[in-house]
């Protein structure tokens, strides 16, 4: 630490070069921050509050529904606390572009998804209103909905019994997801399964549900409970597949494409270039200072502290540019998410991204500092001073 001013002076010996290099590093880490947010947005398995939940779907296809009679049998499986269910509604608001993530849910759904937090009055209003709906904060903001509004949603799948494709809803609550909720929870729209079932034109759907959501008494029973539930309907015409909420979300995200792989490939290209670029800058900087380094050694700096100083210079360079870049990304990501109008749910840049980023900065800094640092350490004072 006591050499910090020396390292700093060396780093800014040529201001313009250091500045240009810093901007390149900044760009690389800005990109790192934004891409990592994108990756996180698509790998939405990040809900920590959902570890004690299972999802049961049809084994054969996501579009096949399950008989509602399964619920009581599932409830009897040891380790199951609550069994709720949901149906996909496929709602759109006014224009096909305004897709609304909407679900018809069982009455106990809000007990299972306890991260959906409603005030007691709103909860009561939801329970007592047949056409009541609760919406996430971000969704309400997107369309300017308020409690008390009457909102017509069109379903791309289900017409009403009277042939009307538009379903009227009363907004009775706007919820704020609790901390740790999955990314995008605040973009959802929930209403009563009863209303859905009674007003639906497809009578045959009457005694089926889309999928089951199960709350466990404890998270470590997930495997055995999942097996027991699937055994209930084995060899029937409605075999089920039960998995943890996390596994379900992950497999769904994977269907969009391997976003993680694309992000890694881009970042690989970026960091490779960055190493070359900063490595070149560092080599140049040390070559220019051969004389000064020799003087340092002459007045008693050990070879090892010279090595350390050059290494530290590389790390400092990377950390300066990288932290600035990540900070800009941290500012930019929420703006982009807002600007996309709910299309892109980028989560804010979290501690994990920062940690990974800083680890990368230090590693790349040490890597690009290593060669010049070793050169500086091995420097022969006499040769260096003589300019040989």
């Amino acid at each position: 630490m006591k050499y910090l001013h020396l390292i700093w002076a060396a780093l800014f010996r040529r201001k313009s070069r250091t500045f240009l290099t810093l901007v390149s590093i900044l760009a690389a880490f800005l990109l790192f921050g934004m891409l990592d947010a994108t990756r996180a947005a698509f790998s939405s398995g990040g809900s920590v509050v959902g570890v004690d939940r299972l999802i049961t779907t049809s084994r054969y296809s996501i579009i096949q529904s399950l008989p509602s009679s399964l619920a009581t049998r599932m409830q009897a499986v040891p380790g199951v606390k609550t069994v709720g269910h949901a149906n996909w509604f496929g709602g759109i608001y006014q224009d096909p572009k305004n897709f609304v993530l909407s679900f018809a849910v069982s009455d106990n759904y809000l007990d299972i998804y306890h991260e959906i937090q409603l005030s007691p009055e709103q909860r009561k209003a939801f329970e007592t209103t047949r056409t009541g709906a609760i919406v996430g904060e971000a969704l309400a903001k997107r369309f300017g909905w308020k409690v008390g509004d009457k909102v017509p949603l069109q379903s791309t799948i289900f017409p009403q019994r009277n042939g009307d494709k538009t379903w009227p809803f009363d907004i009775v609550g706007i919820y704020t997801p609790a901390k740790g909720a999955a990314n995008g929870t605040d973009q959802q729209f929930f209403f009563h399964y009863k209303y859905f079932q009674e007003a639906n034109a497809y009578r045959s759907l009457g005694d089926t549900v889309g999928w089951y959501a199960i709350q466990l008494t404890s998270a470590d029973k997930a495997d055995s409970v999942a097996k027991a539930i699937d055994a209930l309907s084995a060899n029937s015409d409605h075999e089920t597949k039960t998995q943890t909420e996390q596994a379900f979300n992950a497999s769904f995200a994977k269907q969009l494409g391997d976003i993680g792989l694309i992000v890694s490939a881009i970042m690989g290209a970026v960091f490779f270039t960055l190493i070359l670029l900063t490595g070149n800058t560092m080599a140049q900087a040390v070559r220019e200072r051969t004389n000064e380094l020799a003087v340092l050694k002459t007045i008693g700096f050990s070879s090892r502290s010279v090595l350390g100083m050059v290494l530290a210079e590389g790390v400092l360079l990377l950390v300066l540019g990288g932290v600035l870049g990540l900070a800009i990304a941290a500012v930019l990501v929420p703006i982009v998410a807002k600007g996309s109008g709910g299309m892109l749910n980028l989560p804010p840049i979290g501690a994990q991204t920062w940690l990974l980023g800083i680890a990368l900065m230090v590693a790349i800094g040490a890597l690009v500092g290593a060669l010049p640092a070793i050169r500086a350490m091995r420097l022969n004072i006499v040769d260096a001073l003589a300019g040989r």
Binding site: Y60, S61, I62, I157, G257, I266, A269, V270, T273, L276
Partner: protein
Amino acid sequence: MKSFGTGLLMLLIVAVFLMVWIAMPWQGVVVLAAVLGLWMALTRRGRQTWQVTRVGLSTVTQRLGSSSVVVVGIAGVVGVLVAMLAMSEGFAETLRATGNDRTAIVLRGGSQAELNSVLDRDSANVVIQAPGVKKGADGKPVASSELVVVANLPRKGEPDSDANVPIRGVSGDVWALRDQVKIVEGRRFTPGLRELIVGKGAKAQFAGLDVGKSLRLAGQTWTVVGTFESHDALESELWGDTQSVASAYRRGSSVASVTVLLDSPAAFDTFKASLAADPRLKVDVSTTHDYFSKQSEGLTKVLRIVGITVGIIMAIGAVFGALNTMFAAIQARAREIATLRAIGFRGVPVVVSVMLETMLLALLGGAIGAGLVWVVFNGYSASTLGANFSQVVFRFHVSGDLLWTGIKWALAIGFIGGLFPAVRAARLPVTTALREL
């Protein structure tokens, strides 16, 4: 004040250049290059420029490390940009190729995708009998009532994964209707039996779809009897007989959509108008070209925006890398440039030669980046979730246009990265530079 003015002027030059450059077609660039070549060959100033450039280029090998920063940096930008755009293009092209103007698709009103749509048998029959539908040799309208459902199948090499694979029940004259579909292995399915034919794309992506294999769908066993190719999005699908698929998925006699062959593309308006006027129907009618093109719009746009955004951020990094390299190069050649100026070379040859050197390095980088992507990714097959909530298999397409876009980006980065060092080189005070060690 003066330096502030110059700075402003340079930024203006960069902005104007970028605007002109983005709008310029390839012919314009060829003309520019030809003019530059003629100028260097014919005028005195031009020949001087050529000489200075040659000297600069001959020293590139001595600055291999820093020159490669320019080349690799720009190769990275161009590579990522071209790969992202190739993905977007490939997806759009696959879906565009699926439809044409000679066939029309009819869905229940407001359903947007076949998976959401339900038409009862009576409606389907009304649609098939509508005016404008072409009659086959036997005098019957050429049409196919279809049903799309989704099945869970594992991906190749990942037995535990689930992918939503589309299964299309087809009927009637589908072979005349979709004449791009060719059986390449095995045979067609037999109507009434639980037999499937699989698209080449689906076969390549998902496990257990070889001819002769059987698979379980909706609790029943189906046999794969053939493989087909069509070079479009249909290749991601499994096809069976509509009746068999409907009974397996308990859809009764209803179907999802009806696709018909039109008398001619012009007959579409008659067809659409007659369905719209029919009080028994509430349907959406579009040509298959419109229907499938629309499905690619969203994702194509997102991929383009992401590709260009990432490209711009990387380009900023690369510009500063190039600036760094070229400033260092000028520094190293300061004495030599000053000597040239002292013996009478003017500023223009120096400016042009430095820019030329940067742009040549950039061109090399762009060519490497675009070439690598072309070699690795052209025809690379991938899949994503499409409008029917199921996988669409598509191929990356690195077109000539995209390669050209990449080269244009590379040259733009080279231009900006070379401009500032070039101007500094020309404005170097001769006396100080000569005195410098």
